[in-house]
């Protein structure tokens, strides 16, 4: 009885695995929550500069700073220089997924809000 049920059980498992949807890719809002060292009301402008280096964009008298980030194969978001040498093969993967981290500061230099915007890929 048990032996005769094994093939059906296996077939059922295979079919179930076929129909099981693959885990959804991490979406941008969720990825934003994983950014280390960013906390609204606590993170300062200096904290962000120390973590991400020179901003790639500045707006409204530096009240808004943007940082270009790239997603690595290890699912890490790392800062990117604005100067990309496209003839260099090492940059070949950089256009797959790029994000812009947009940060807005209070007058006292603390982070008021931030958004992670997918700009490529």
């Amino acid at each position: 009885m048990v032996r005769s049920a094994v093939p059906f059980l296996l077939a059922g498992l295979v079919l179930t695995s076929c129909s099981t949807p693959r885990p959804a890719a991490v979406d941008v809002p969720e990825r934003a929550t994983r950014l280390p060292g960013i906390s609204i009301g606590q993170t300062t402008r200096a904290d962000l500069l120390l973590r991400y280096g020179m901003p790639t964009g500045r707006f409204e008298n530096d009240r808004i700073l943007t940082f270009m980030l790239r997603l690595t194969a290890d699912d890490e978001l790392l800062p990117v220089s604005g100067d990309v040498a496209w003839r260099d093969p090492r940059f070949r993967t950089w256009d797959f997924a790029t994000y812009s981290l947009v940060t807005v500061f209070e007058p006292d230099g603390r982070l008021a809000r931030f958004e992670l915007v997918r700009v490529n890929g």
């Binding site: 300062t44 402008r45 200096a46 120390l50 100067d83 990309v84 090492r90 070949r92 993967t93 230099g109």
Partner: protein, 167 residues
């Protein structure tokens, strides 16, 4: 009797495989800073001494934060057109891998180039007015970093970071 011999053989094979594999020294920020910028220390370095060593920061933010853009290059002299082309060809030859863009295709060549870098390479600073030919260094950089340094009102370094931004 046979087991120890087999074990020794496996061990020797493993060692041979290990030593035969080219070792590419990774350009981690810690390693690079230790090698090329050992004098940057929190609580000791001043804005004046950092500026004397690296030139004026490319950007000076509010709150006493100075940022230097630094390129790690094999040769600090500016290449002419032929040298630039030759270097770009070598980089392409070493790194172009149609099957896995995250890994160089020629590990031995990259390892040898990395050895040359640690022996003769230089850290080049991009100031507010980059010197002529600096754009060529940007094309040939082995790695690019931002040194972010937060100075206190007394001009002494409070904290700093060395961020790799490419390639």
């Amino acid at each position: 009797m046979i087991r120890p011999v087999l074990g020794l053989g496996v061990l020797l094979a493993a060692v041979a495989c290990e030593t035969g594999h080219p070792v590419v020294v990774p350009l981690t920020p810690e390693r690079v800073q230790h090698h090329w910028l050992p004098g940057i220390e929190d609580g000791k370095t001043t804005l004046a001494s950092a500026t004397a060593a690296l030139g004026a920061p490319l950007s000076f933010e509010g709150g006493g934060v100075g940022i230097w853009r630094l390129l790690l290059v094999l040769d600090p002299t500016f290449p002419d057109d032929d040298a630039l082309d030759a270097e770009l060809d070598e980089i392409a030859y070493l790194w172009w891998n149609p099957y896995d863009p995250y890994r160089p295709v020629n590990m031995a060549g990259v390892a040898e180039r990395r050895e040359r870098l640690f022996e003769n390479g230089a850290m080049v600073t991009a100031g507010a007015a980059p010197p002529p030919g600096f754009a060529r260094h940007a094309l040939l950089r082995e790695a690019e970093f931002h040194l972010v340094a937060a100075f206190g009102p007394d001009g002494v370094l409070r904290r700093h970071s060395f961020v790799r931004v490419g390639p």
